[in-house]
């Protein structure tokens, strides 16, 4: 009960924030009532997917300050578990999703134990290395379709299949991922006030100090890493049934890992709203840049150039993200 009360309690945010969040929530809830294009709908679903990834990353990377650039491997584990279970044994989504999360968490414990002996840059590059190893293995592993990946044939299933989560209309996917999003947000709201959340923030500020206060730093990091992993893997499972066609190159590539970290950083790492703001800006930007400049104007790559320039500008001039700006303005007002 205590935990639930903590999860729905947003009272430490100012009144204006809560009203704004509520307004956005209502808008998102009734978004499909407005006339929308299929492209806008896909963008919205992608926004939810990536803000959930970002929330997962935010536990370890934002609150814990451990720059993890290997989250894509867990997207891959979740997505592939769901896909393989569905195609080979016809196991429904709601069963294969927890299996995938358990597998991903087991793997995160195995590599997390040695991984967290490293610090800083070394840690970040090592996470990339593990992710790329897994991707290389998946690219030659025949059981999971090697480099060509796996695909669901949607006509084999009756369209509103709530067990396997296979729908013809994106509308269903929208509400499913929206429910995930709300649960994830509530969980994060609980997490930041939990014991582990406070421990992580103290580790981020000063690791030696945290250790001297009796926090088991190594174990706290591994636990948080597993939580982040579970988040990412669950959404990865959803990604698999939503996209219906997965291959190592687009589920597990470094670009995904970086995008996840970038989203949280753009919005403001280590804050509740950060990843959501980041995803809300970056995903539409990325998709529409590609649509307008890449596909329409026939300039291959120009969307990524603009996108890269934006990344460079943010990291050079506002590394604490949009939430950092908001907090700075507020602090100035108070003084």
């Amino acid at each position: 009960m205590e935990a639930i009360r903590n999860a729905v309690d947003f009272s430490d945010f100012p009144w204006s924030d809560r009203m704004l969040a509520l307004a956005v929530f209502c808008l998102l809830l009734i978004f499909p009532l407005f006339p929308y294009s299929a492209f806008a709908m896909a963008t919205m679903i992608q926004f939810f997917i990536f803000s959930l990834y970002g929330m997962g990353w935010n536990t370890i990377g934002g609150y814990g300050g451990q720059v993890d650039l290997g989250k894509a491997q867990y997207v891959g584990i979740g997505a592939y578990t769901t896909m393989v279970c569905l195609l080979r044994w016809d196991i429904p989504f709601w069963v294969s999703m927890p299996i995938g999360a358990c597998l991903a968490m087991a793997w995160s414990f195995i590599i997390g134990y040695p991984l967290f002996k490293l610090k800083g840059h070394y840690f970040a590059i090592a996470t990339i290395a593990t992710s790329l190893v897994l991707k290389d293995i998946f690219e030659v592993w025949k059981f999971v379709g090697a480099a060509r990946g796996l695909g669901i044939l949607p006509y084999k299933y009756q369209s509103p299949d709530f067990l396997r989560l296979i729908f013809k209309e994106d509308l269903y996917y929208y509400y499913v991922i929206f429910a995930f999003f709300v649960i994830g947000l509530l969980y994060m709201n609980w997490f930041r006030k939990s014991r582990l959340g406070y421990q992580l923030r103290s580790i981020k500020d000063n690791e030696d100090m945290a250790r001297s206060l009796g926090i088991n730093v190594h174990w706290a990091k591994i636990k948080t890493y597993a939580i982040a992993t579970a988040f990412v893997s669950v959404v990865g499972s959803f990604h698999a049934v939503y996209i219906k066609n997965i291959e190592p190159e687009d589920t597990m590539s470094l670009d995904i890992s970086i995008l996840i970290a970038l989203m949280a950083m753009l919005g403001g790492a280590g804050s509740l709203w950060g990843p959501i703001i980041g995803a809300g800006i970056l995903i539409p930007l990325k998709n529409y840049l590609k649509e307008w400049l890449g596909a329409a104007a026939g300039l291959l790559g120009i969307d990524l150039v603009i996108y890269g320039v934006i990344i460079m500008l943010i990291s050079a001039f506002e590394p604490r993200g949009i939430w950092g700006i908001v907090e700075k303005v507020r602090r100035r007002k108070r003084i």
Binding site: L118, A126, A129, D136, V140, L300, S315, A316, P319
Partner: protein, 304 residues
């Protein structure tokens, strides 16, 4: 037996070039603790420079090295002065993502300019020539020349870092920036210079590699990871360390060759069925992971 010796030889030759690829990264990292994700993209620029000038002027690709070095030097200084300087003030994640953004920009500009298809050098003094030194070892002339040039460039940088006043100033900046500034060393200029030298070495390496490796806008990332591994193994910031580590990583990249040797010599059936060439790059990542755990300082590292 000849497979073994051949693999050993080509691994060592490749290793010398990889050492040169990683040299720039180790200079930059040793000096200012920043990890440059765009390193492989600098290499790609070097490859395109070598390839396109050789194709446009009809010169031998090996003669394009000074041009590649010049372009690399300017690019490095431009990147430092226009961008990296601002990154250094921010937290570590900003540095990682910022250089990743630089990588995206460079890669996609190359994509827009040159298209996504593979390009390779087909003409040149040494391209396609090789000599047989007995025992079944065949060394292609380009690889040998490239390795020799790589060693020469390496020696040049080593001399610069260890035998000149400039090198001393660079080392002093790396050891203690504040102290160096008190001694009258212009540390800001030293940082810019380190970026210049670092990217000049890597573009030279790129122009060399273009002799036997086809180039497309996406080659960068693999080389970035290779360079990270080499630098980790050699010790972050160590020049001789980078050289020996380069040789070791060159051998690691030849693991498929050794695997075949064992499979054939001892006639082990299951070994022949493993598609080892698909795992070529995986061993590099595994090696990085293991090195960081066993010896985080690297072989010759002086900086924790």
């Amino acid at each position: 037996m000849d497979i073994l010796l051949g693999s050993l030889m080509s691994g060592l030759l490749l290793g010398m070039v990889l050492a040169l690829v990683a040299l720039g990264l180790t200079i930059i990292f040793g000096l200012m603790d920043i990890v440059n994700f765009a390193h492989g993209e600098f290499l790609m620029i070097g490859m395109y420079t070598g390839l396109l000038t050789a194709q446009a002027t009809g010169l031998d690709p090996l003669l394009t090295l000074p041009l590649a070095a010049g372009i690399g030097f300017l690019l490095g200084i431009l990147c430092y002065g226009g961008f990296v300087k601002f990154l250094l003030r921010g937290p570590m994640i900003a540095q990682l993502l910022g250089t990743f953004g630089l990588m995206l920009v460079l890669r996609n500009i190359a994509l827009m300019l040159f298209g996504s298809e593979d390009r390779a050098l087909l003409h040149g003094l040494l391209v396609g020539k090789s000599f047989d030194i007995g025992m079944g070892i065949i060394i292609s002339a380009t690889k040998l020349a490239v390795a020799v040039l790589a060693v020469l460039s390496f020696a040049g940088v080593w001399l610069l870092m260890n035998r000149t006043k400039l090198g001393k100033a660079l080392t002093a900046t790396a050891l203690n920036r504040q102290g160096a500034r008190y001694m009258g060393i212009p540390t800001e200029r030293m940082n810019a210079l380190a970026w210049g030298i670092g990217s000049a070495t890597v573009t030279v390496a790129g122009a060399l590699i273009a002799n036997f490796w086809s180039v497309n806008p996406y080659v960068g990332l693999t080389f970035t990871m290779i360079a990270f591994t080499v630098v980790a193994l050699g010790g972050f910031g160590s020049v001789p360390g980078a050289f020996f580590a380069g040789l070791v990583v060159g051998l690691i990249m030849e693991i498929p060759g050794f695997w075949d040797f064992f499979a054939i010599t001892f006639n082990i059936g299951w070994m022949a069925h493993v598609p080892m060439t698909s795992f070529k790059y995986m061993w590099i990542y595994v090696a990085y992971f293991v090195i960081m755990l066993v010896r985080p300082r690297g072989l010759f590292g002086w900086k924790q």
